[in-house]
């Protein structure tokens, strides 16, 4: 072998190693998608089994229609008041309620967290009431909300806020208080005002925790919007009310479709907020990434 061959050889083996690694990584990535897909197929199989083997024709229609029936009568039909169309219209109503509720929760929650962060006495005076809002069952508040906000969209938004605001308050407050003593000393030494300290130190430092809170709140506001539909039925029809109607009218394939759409909507919100936090925090320390 010439000298040149000796030089080339290790280079080649390195390339091989890289390819092996790539392959292993691709394999792992494929498995990430394959595993849940297999679970999905198993569930559909079990669904068919129960629907056709364990049930008679009547119960198949009223309790558990086969997957392809759900698909044909629910997803593929596009008519006024039938099939997918009213479901997507209801989704639009519900998502608007959820987003408005989330927006209000973030605005009020962040302001309350900032107020609580400025003084210990403010935290002591406000925090117990935030906890009370969190632990009171929504059901118990329904009559009051009805009295104050009526039966329409505003009442549904209020339900969203009641569910979503607590994680915003607690996580933001925790984030604002996470600035280290050394950082505060640094800002004190250089005569930073209250506002500068908040804007340059505490708020950016609170971002990871705030985004965690926002992720929880986003999920909560979707739940709140659907739950609100059940109680406050005036005005535009939301997903919750539609699901309730379909159950009463035994329109089971459409009931399944609406439920699946509600579920996909929750997943979509979760993924969007997760994407926003990952983008915001991509440069941060490991400790920050652990929050997400």
């Amino acid at each position: 072998m010439s000298e040149a061959d000796h030089e080339i050889e290790p280079a080649l083996s390195e390339v091989d190693a890289d390819e092996d690694e790539d392959e292993a990584r691709r394999g792992a990535a494929a498995w990430t998608y394959l595993a849940p897909l297999i679970t999905f197929i198993l569930i559909i199989g079990a669904w068919y089994f129960i629907s056709y083997v364990r049930m008679d024709a009547v119960r198949r229609r009223t309790a558990l229609p086969a997957p392809h029936t759900v698909f044909e009568d629910g997803l593929l039909v596009w008519e006024d008041r039938k099939g997918l169309k009213p479901i997507l219209e209801a989704l639009l109503v519900t998502s608007r309620v959820a987003l408005i509720g989330l927006g209000i929760s973030i605005a009020i929650g962040v302001i309350l967290a900032i107020v609580m962060n400025t003084a210990k006495w403010a935290e002591r005076s406000i925090f117990p009431y935030a906890v009370i809002i969190q632990v009171t069952p929504i059901l118990a508040l329904v009559p009051l909300i009805r009295n104050w906000y009526g039966f329409g969209i505003p009442a549904r938004v209020v339900v969203c806020v009641l569910i979503a605001i607590f994680p915003v308050i607690t996580n933001t407050l925790f984030g604002l208080q996470s600035a280290k003593e050394g950082h505060h000393d640094l800002f004190t030494l250089h005569h930073a005002s209250w506002l500068t300290r908040l804007w340059r130190l505490e708020m950016p430092g609170a971002m990871p925790a705030f985004l965690t809170g926002m992720r929880i709140a986003a999920g909560g506001s979707v739940i709140g919007a659907v739950v609100g539909d059940f109680f406050f039925r005036q005005g535009e029809i939301g997903l919750g009310r539609l699901i309730d109607n379909y159950q009463k009218d035994t329109r089971i394939p459409e009931l399944f479709t609406a439920t699946i759409v509600a579920c996909l909507f929750g997943i979509a919100i979760f993924l969007i907020v997760g994407w926003i936090s990952n983008r915001t925090l991509k440069h941060w320390h490991e400790s920050a990434r652990n929050y997400t």
Binding site: K180, G182, H183, D185, L186, F187, T188, L189, H190, H191, A192, T196, R200, L201, P204, G205, M207, H283, W284, H285, E286, A288
Partner: protein, 239 residues
């Protein structure tokens, strides 16, 4: 200095540090060295006595690098000029100069998470340098880095001191670090902290790394070491 819980941290300490002087205080753990520095900086009010210092643009290097995780090196170094309201262009220029001084040119866009402990400390030094502070306080800044990095940072700090001519007050546990950088070394006793003895360091600047192998360097370290042992002994007799 006496804390509200009755702990007497410092007692009867009086000294001054002039421009162009680098004074290091060594002492046993918990002798109140850090308290002394916090009082000097104005972070703590003394219960008695007084401090005269130019604190408008004070330089304070903390034990921890205290970088802001969400800012890259450039923006971290620009923080202090920003807090003091310097215009943007001025801020940029000061930061670039300081980054060059600590040898981090090329790392401006890096975030703290991707820097080693020693590099973080350099960023922290650069941040302090931007204001060209007349008084530079160091609170055991190199305690957490490995020995070789520490020696290199000592050499760089000493070079910065020679270049900038600030008044330096440095606190450490390490005797060789103290002797290597300082014009004067003071040994503090255990709580309540008092200045036990003082040593003038006769070596000129710039100091080279191999000064550490000089016989006179070793001798001086030995003297300080004996005094420090005495300080520990006084702590033992207190208990």
């Amino acid at each position: 200095m006496t804390f509200p819980d009755g702990t007497e941290a410092l007692d009867g300490i009086s000294f001054s540090v002039s421009m162009g002087e680098f004074v290091t205080i060594v002492g046993p753990s918990g002798c109140g060295k850090s308290t002394l520095l916090r009082i000097a900086s104005g972070l703590l009010e003394p219960t008695s006595g007084r401090v005269e210092a130019d604190r408008e643009r004070i330089g304070y290097v903390f034990q921890d690098a205290t970088l802001l995780d969400w800012r890259n090196v450039q923006n971290n170094v620009e923080l202090l000029p920003q807090l003091h309201g310097f215009p943007k262009a001025e801020r940029k220029r000061l930061a670039s100069e300081a980054i060059e001084l600590v040898g981090l040119t090329g790392f401006e866009r890096h975030y703290p998470k991707s820097l080693s402990g020693g590099m973080k400390m350099r960023v922290s030094l650069a941040r302090t340098l931007t204001l060209a502070p007349p008084l530079f306080l160091f609170d055991e800044p190199f305690a957490a880095v490995d020995e070789i990095t520490r020696q290199r940072l000592n050499e760089e700090t000493q070079a910065l001191f020679q270049r900038e001519g600030f008044a330096g007050l440095f606190i450490t546990h390490s005797i060789s670090e103290a002797v290597f950088m300082s014009t004067r070394v003071m040994v503090m006793s255990a709580r309540p902290g008092r200045i036990l003895s003082e040593y003038a360091v006769p070596f000129g600047y710039p100091r080279q790394a191999d000064l550490r192998f000089d016989a006179r360097f070793g001798e001086l370290c030995g003297e300080v070491s004996v005094a420090l042992e005495g300080a520990h002994a006084s702590e033992a007799s207190h208990e």
